[in-house]
């Protein structure tokens, strides 16, 4: 075992952890405010990947794609929340589960009918980044840096704007917020829209890394739930930290133990954290 190897594994883990973080932050946002687990989260990411793919024929820049896709998906999320999620917000959890799962199945199969099962991919050119002995994946580094910037902006919005404060208040105590004049229905729709917009940003950043195909959401969703629960339901910094922890565990386990046992090890860590801290690392729910 050499110093260079350990640093390379650590960098790999941080970069994949950043990917997991950006995948999960929208999910934790929605749960934190609405207390609804969005089982269609992976499918929104999938749709955003497809949107980015089609937009790349107009212009290859994914920053431009993010500027178009994120607001569009915010509006989509807002409308879905207003007409589908809000009506079931006080219903039993099982109804909410079936609703969001059903949405996910509809989106998956609609994508399959419209675009078939063929994977779609953007051209990714250029040689890898080499810093001394380190080999760094440029698309993953980019995704990590942009994800971190987006999360910082989101935290600032939540802290410094009225809407952000209303969202945080609703997450803490919805009844008290309502009594203080917060329009809960509108705040839920905004929070859901924000969560979907974050999922869309994840999709834009991930297309250079993964191909888009109708079932790719299934690949994302399990790791998202692990990261969200580990980091703490409703905690946005928790999603990033949870992602980093999982990514680093995966990287080292995969090399020193066996790649097929990566998920075993991080699930053990996950269970241990929940045993000693059921709310997750940063959770308040």
């Amino acid at each position: 075992m050499t110093f260079e190897l350990v640093i390379q594994l650590l960098i790999n883990g941080i970069l994949i952890g950043g990917v997991y973080g950006i995948l999960s932050v929208g999910l934790t946002m929605i749960f934190g405010v609405l207390r609804v687990v969005n089982f269609a989260h992976g499918e929104f990411i999938m749709l955003a990947m497809y949107s980015t793919f089609w937009l790349s024929f107009l212009h290859p820049s994914d920053i431009l794609a993010a500027v178009i896709v994120a607001p569009t998906f915010f509006i989509l999320g807002f409308v879905i929340a207003k007409y589908i999620i809000n009506p079931i917000i006080n219903d039993p959890e099982l109804s909410q589960v079936f609703t969001t799962m059903g949405m996910g199945i509809v989106m998956q199969n609609a994508a399959l009918i419209l675009w078939k099962a063929d994977p779609r991919s953007k051209t990714v050119t250029g040689i890898p980044l080499k810093l001394g002995f380190l080999m760094i994946s440029y698309p993953r580094l980019r995704a990590f840096l942009i994800a971190a910037a987006v999360i910082i902006i989101l935290v600032l919005i939540l802290k410094m704007t009225y809407v952000g404060k209303a969202i945080r208040a609703s997450a803490q105590n919805r009844n008290a917020s309502a009594m203080l004049g917060v329009n809960l229905s509108r705040i839920y729709a905004i929070a859901f829209g924000l969560g979907i917009a974050l999922a869309a940003v994840a999709g834009v950043l991930l297309l250079p890394i993964y191909p888009a195909f109708p079932m790719i959401g299934l690949h994302f969703v399990l790791i998202c739930f692990v990261v969200v629960v580990l980091g703490g339901l409703g905690s946005i910094p928790g999603a990033l930290v949870g992602g980093l922890i999982i990514g680093i565990i995966e990287s080292f386990t995969g090399f020193f133990v066996d790649p097929s046992l990566k998920s075993v090890v991080y699930f053990i860590v996950f269970i241990l954290v929940l045993l000693f801290r059921p709310k997750g690392l940063f959770g308040t729910i």
Binding site: L5, Q8, L9, N12, G13, L15, I16, V19, Y20, Q108, N109, L112, K116, A117, D118, P119, R120, S121, K122, T123, V124, T125, I127, P128, K130, M135, I136, S137, Y138, P139, R140, I209, Y210, P211, F213, P214, M215, I216, L218, H219, F220, L222, I223, G247, E250, S251, F252, T253, G254, F255, D258, P259, S260, K262, S263
Partner: protein
């Protein structure tokens, strides 16, 4: 009066015998198709089905079977192994279908074929490779396609006869690694490769399994780099290979003897665009082969398939998986069923057991003869074999064995830095 009675009598004959007779003649030959039309491997299921469909359309356009009856395919969606069982049961008991063509996927094919056999219905496997599909002495299960162990021979022969000389090494000094998907198919294929490699005295220095849902291969790649492999064998699925190959470039994984998948890299050029896809090898059943190797009838079928695929999908290259569905169902429609004389399971079973097609006699180049009852691989085609294809200038070509190759293999593989300079 007599004329009137005669007229009524003739009308009676017409309506009760001739018209129903024509109706019976017009009744289609309904055959079940069990593929994953939705779910995580819908891509392959749909491709395979399209191959079967085109085969049935060609037969129908040529006049059908059994005196003009048209083949009609009835779909069953094997989205996962449980659905495969319920769907095959539905196709057999509710749709009353005597033959099921399927399923491409080994986890689905294993239970589905068992159900079909229990009902004494023919199960005709066109794409799943797991050994135990035909390793259970099931009388009604037939696989004209190659099994996992057939895929061991081409890469091992390639290593000994081409890679070793290209790298100026003794074959026994080559360092070989394997990364395989952890299901039935990946495990069987890698086990068969390892066994064959060991028989030839080749050195396997690492073997790693992985989950197809994995989003990251950095630790796998780091292990391969640390093992300094000369050749990497990776039986896993297309989407996974796309992620793996990108990360291989990002992390500077250079494998001088080549990296070889196993039958699912058709379309890799759609995920890895541009020259980065070059040098990738794949071990699969023969599809892109020298047409001169084929006998006239299968050659004609091959060209017809390409023409119809282009007309339907506007694609010049027929996916390998679609070739499988086409070629193996053509064997059923064109060779077995005419000899059976009907869709009766017993008649089809006997006709299948009597099949004796020489090499070059099918669109997929190999012959067909099934191992008899009592053989450990009863129902498996003993004449199936595989080839190595390679992406060269972003197009797939058959590189090994030389008898059916359309190109010479590119080996050794330059490093990513050297390729970037070209």
């Amino acid at each position: 009066m007599k004329k009137g009675l005669m007229l009524v009598f003739c009308l009676f004959i017409a309506t009760t015998i001739i018209v129903p007779g024509k109706a019976v003649l017009a009744q289609p030959l309904r055959i079940g198709t069990l593929f994953p039309f939705s779910g995580p491997i819908a891509l392959y299921g749909n491709w395979c089905y399209q191959g079967v469909l085109i085969a049935s359309e060609i037969i129908n356009d040529r006049g059908g079977l059994f005196g003009g009856k048209k083949i009609e395919l009835v779909k069953g969606d094997a989205v996962d192994p449980k659905a495969a069982v319920t769907e095959v049961t539905r196709l057999i008991t509710y749709e009353n279908l005597p033959i099921i063509i399927g399923t491409f996927s080994s986890p689905r094919a294993v239970p589905a074929s068992e159900v079909a056999n229990r009902y004494k219905r023919i199960y005709w496997e066109v794409g799943a490779e797991a050994e135990r599909i035909t390793g259970r002495n099931l009388d009604y299960v037939f696989r004209p396609f190659n099994r996992s162990s057939d895929k061991a021979k081409p890469p091992v022969e390639y290593l000994i006869n081409h890679v070793a000389p290209s790298l100026k090494k003794d074959a026994k000094d080559l360092r070989i690694g394997i990364i395989f998907e952890q299901g039935d198919w990946g495990t069987d294929t890698s086990n068969a490769f390892m066994e064959r490699a060991k028989q030839e005295g080749l050195k396997i220095v690492m073997a790693l399994s992985h989950d197809t849902a994995s989003l990251d291969f950095s630790s796998d790649i780091m292990r391969v780099k640390a093992s300094k492999v000369d050749f990497l064998f990776t039986p896993t699925y297309l989407e996974t290979i796309g992620v793996f190959w990108r990360q291989a470039k990002e992390l500077g994984l250079n494998v001088p003897g080549g990296t070889c998948g196993s039958g699912t890299v058709d379309g890799l050029h759609k995920i890895i665009k541009g020259p980065d896809v070059d040098y990738w090898l794949d071990c699969e059943g023969p599809s892109i082969i020298n047409p001169d190797f084929l006998q006239p009838k299968p050659r004609e079928n091959l060209f017809e398939l390409r023409k119809r695929w282009k007309a339907k999908f506007n694609e010049d290259v027929v996916p390998y998986i679609a070739y499988l569905g086409f070629g193996h169902s053509m064997t059923l429609f064109e060779n077995v069923l005419p000899r059976a004389g009907s869709l009766d399971s017993e008649a089809v079973r006997k006709a299948a057991m009597a099949t004796d097609i020489p090499e070059g006699g099918t669109t997929l180049a190999h012959g067909v003869k099934f191992y008899p009852p009592g053989h450990p691989q009863q129902g498996q085609n003993e004449r199936s074999w595989a080839v190595l294809t390679q992406y060269q200038s972003q197009k797939m070509a058959t590189a090994w064995p030389p008898k059916v190759a359309t190109t010479k293999p590119w080996c050794p593989v330059p490093t990513w830095e050297e390729r970037a300079k070209k």
